[in-house]
Every structure is written in structure tokens, then in C-alpha cells.
């Protein structure tokens, strides 16, 4: 069974450009999460989808970030326009059950490293 896959693994862009990150969750996982880790700091929650609906987007930094999950399958996270502080590693994770704590496990992708110059 395929795990969570993320694309691209690394993206280098200029300030002001647009980048779109993609996440393919494990098949059948309704819950999809985006997290971000800025260098050396904690992994911060961005948002949570349940199928195609945004359950919680309280962690999204600002309106330059747009996440979508069309059809409840893969998800995209677009940053437009990118700023220097957006650099970091963006992780996607999925889980089968609504409340991660009950199953106790999120399945993570390898992350997409974004460098904004």
C-alpha cells in the first residue's frame, strides 16, 4: 500500500512567485492535515481537511496561503505570492479516523522543502 506522497520534494523560488505543493494521502483516509516546520522550530499545524471540507484552518498564516482538496482525494497548498518567511518544510499527513488521538497515528509524507530567495 502506498504511503502519503508529496510533490515536489524541494522547490526554490524567488520572492513574489507562486508555488503549489501537492499531497496524495493514503487511499481511504478521509482526514488530511498540513503542517509546516520553519528551520529548527516546532512542526506547526496549518489546517485539517475531512474529505473535501476544511475542518480547521486556524493555523493558516495569512491569505497568501490557499489549500484545496477537490473531490476529497489529493490536496494542494498554494502560496501566492511567496515571501522569505514562507521558507520551511511543509508536511502532509493523513489518518483514517476523525480524531487522531483515538487511533493514535498520523501517517506523514516526506515533506516538501520550500526555499524562497
Amino acid at each position: 500500500e502506498a504511503g502519503v506522497t508529496q510533490f515536489p520534494s524541494h522547490s526554490v523560488i524567488e520572492k513574489g512567485q507562486t508555488v503549489t505543493l501537492r499531497c496524495d494521502p493514503i487511499s481511504g483516509h478521509d482526514n488530511l492535515y498540513w503542517y509546516r516546520r520553519v528551520m529548527g522550530k516546532e512542526i506547526k499545524f496549518l489546517l485539517h481537511f475531512v474529505k473535501e471540507s476544511k475542518q480547521d484552518e486556524s493555523g493558516m498564516p495569512n491569505n497568501r496561503f490557499l489549500a484545496e482538496r477537490t473531490g476529497g482525494t489529493y490536496s494542494t497548498l498554494k502560496v501566492q505570492p511567496a515571501e522569505l518567511e514562507d521558507s520551511g518544510v511543509y508536511f502532509c499527513a493523513s489518518s483514517q479516523d476523525r480524531v487522531a488521538g483515538e487511533t493514535g497515528e498520523l501517517f506523514f509524507g516526506e515533506g516538501s522543502r520550500l526555499t524562497v530567495l
Partner: protein, 114 residues
């Protein structure tokens, strides 16, 4: 609001020595606690979890952690480390709610010296 503090950003240790990675959390309600591990060039994977019951939890690769409610801690331990344990370890907390989200600490990088 919940938070997780990992007191050590880096822990160097010799091979076959014991190790303890510290984690403290803050929450006004009951929590679920986790340790995740990230090996080089890989995604995070679950090492162990505390949901309820016994406060001593055993995970993969010989790791264990003890939930201490009075000290709000969930320290990770291994009696004898191996080179292959070189990785970054993340403590995390989840609070049951209709909008569950796991909160992570800043990570502890474990480096094993031969």
C-alpha cells in the same frame, strides 16, 4: 491552549549508552501523547503513544515512555542506543475535540557516537 516543550534540541550519546529525551506539555484537559521519529530523508513515523491505561508505554525499536500527569511529562527512554537510532524525535500532544489536531514540540536531534 496546549503546548509541548522539548527541553533539549540536541542530545549526543555514545552507542550502547542509555538515553532520555525530555518532553513536557501543558494542557487544562486530558490529552493523548505521542512520540514521532524522523530518520534522515524520511517522513515522521509513530514511535509510541499514550492514550489511556498504563502510564508506561512501549514502542518500536526498544523505546519506551512514561506518562507523569503530576509533572506533565512524557519522557522518552531507551536503555541502550544503536547507531540506527540517529534521528530527530518529536513529542506531540492531542486533545480530544471535534476538531482534533496534534501539536508538536520543536524536536530533539539524537546523535549516536560510536
Amino acid at each position: 491552549a496546549q503546548s509541548v516543550t522539548q527541553l533539549d534540541s540536541q542530545v549526543p550519546v555514545f552507542e550502547e549508552a542509555p538515553v532520555e529525551l525530555r518532553c513536557n506539555y501543558s494542557s487544562s484537559v486530558s490529552v493523548y501523547l505521542f512520540w514521532y521519529v524522523q530518520y534522515p530523508n524520511q517522513g515522521l513515523q509513530l514511535l509510541l503513544k499514550y492514550l489511556s491505561g498504563s502510564t508506561l508505554v512501549k514502542g518500536i525499536n526498544g523505546f519506551e515512555a512514561e506518562f507523569n500527569k503530576s509533572q506533565t511529562s512524557f519522557h522518552l527512554r531507551k536503555p541502550s542506543v544503536h547507531i540506527s537510532d540517529t534521528a530527530e524525535y518529536f513529542c506531540a500532544v492531542d486533545v480530544y475535540s471535534s476538531a482534533s489536531k496534534i501539536i508538536f514540540g520543536s524536536g530533539t536531534r539524537l546523535s549516536i557516537r560510536p
